[in-house]
Symmetry: D2
């Protein structure tokens, strides 16, 4: 069942997520609107881990095993729903990000960009 | 500036995002707590595109060029903050997802898993 | 302890929430930034109840006692953090909403306002 | 048009929001599932104001007029969607919050409750 021997790859993970959902008859639930709601819910579950922490506690979050595991688990959930949404609507997430980085390099020129709290 | 000739790769995108932030002195803003708040905000911006759409309109979202561009742009933002968060806390997002899929294969056995609205 | 005999009032609930937090030494956690993160997390927990439901199932959510209780519980949490945030920053939530409704009456004139999925 | 002369009241604001939506034919969009998605989106827009601020900057947010206005505007939007959701599903938000405070007084006894980052 494990594909761990091969290097991990986004397209391969997308295929495994799709097979997983199809095998459990979850396809009808995985509409674009539902998947993006689920993505947003999982991003908030990741935020929940940090909501009462000071910046210092937050920076040390991975040193506490139980919290570290929750962080990895929620990262996985966010990525899972993001990839399933991309599969559902036919967006290539890596190409979308590469294109955005190039647009941002023009939009925020080095040396002429304000601090981030003023953007 | 473009790395488009080589196949896109998550680790490479993470390096470009880090270089981008460092070049603009945005590093101090990119704490784990701030990045996870930003991730959650971007996931909601993706949800906002869909909030008033019927399931049918949502399924056709990529056929309308302006909405399709917004979807790609927000997917890029969600992935950007997820990867920057992973860089900040030292989590490998693809490994976290692969591990989660394997746990879920045990947790939700094929043929013995309820419909998703009852999970 | 109960104030149920008197009609409920937003200012009174704000005072009870403040007393509650002070009595448990939670004041230092209740910064504006933390409270607004918590508000966002609780709004997502309310969304989570609905994420896989069809529009029809969602419309009937209060007919199922267990889901109805979760809905009431999450409504309470959203309102609690919204009111605590308003206390922390000194915003009057009812006045803010009344002012917004009046601005929106000008912004979206009756008879000349597009359907909401086009706004 | 203004009801400002009378003291503001949650039930009255709910009625005005309902009239506002009905007058613009927005009723069909205001399903429980859509309203809760919109609530979550607006809570994130409030969070967005704070995402890059230090705790100190966040505490001073109302001293800057432009940011103060955005905060009031987003508080109004969050409350508007919360109240419209409550109207749609038939939940009394003040009663739900009062009941939750009483449950929390039993769940988190004074003097025996851990710090909030450990709850």
């Amino acid at each position: 069942m494990s594909d761990q021997e091969r290097p991990l790859d986004v397209a391969e993970l997308q295929r495994r997520l799709l097979d997983f959902a199809v095998a459990r008859d979850w396809g009808p639930y995985h509409t674009p609107k539902n998947l993006v709601a689920a993505l947003s819910v999982e991003a908030s579950e990741l935020l929940e881990i940090f909501q009462w922490l000071t910046p210092e506690q937050a920076a040390a979050v991975m040193r506490e095993p139980e919290r570290a595991h929750r962080v990895e688990d929620e990262v996985a959930d966010v990525l899972a729903y993001l990839l399933q949404f991309c599969t559902a609507v036919g967006v290539d997430p890596l190409a979308a990000l590469a294109a955005k980085i190039e647009r941002n390099e023009l939009r925020f020129p080095v040396g002429r960009t304000p601090p981030l709290d003023g953007v």
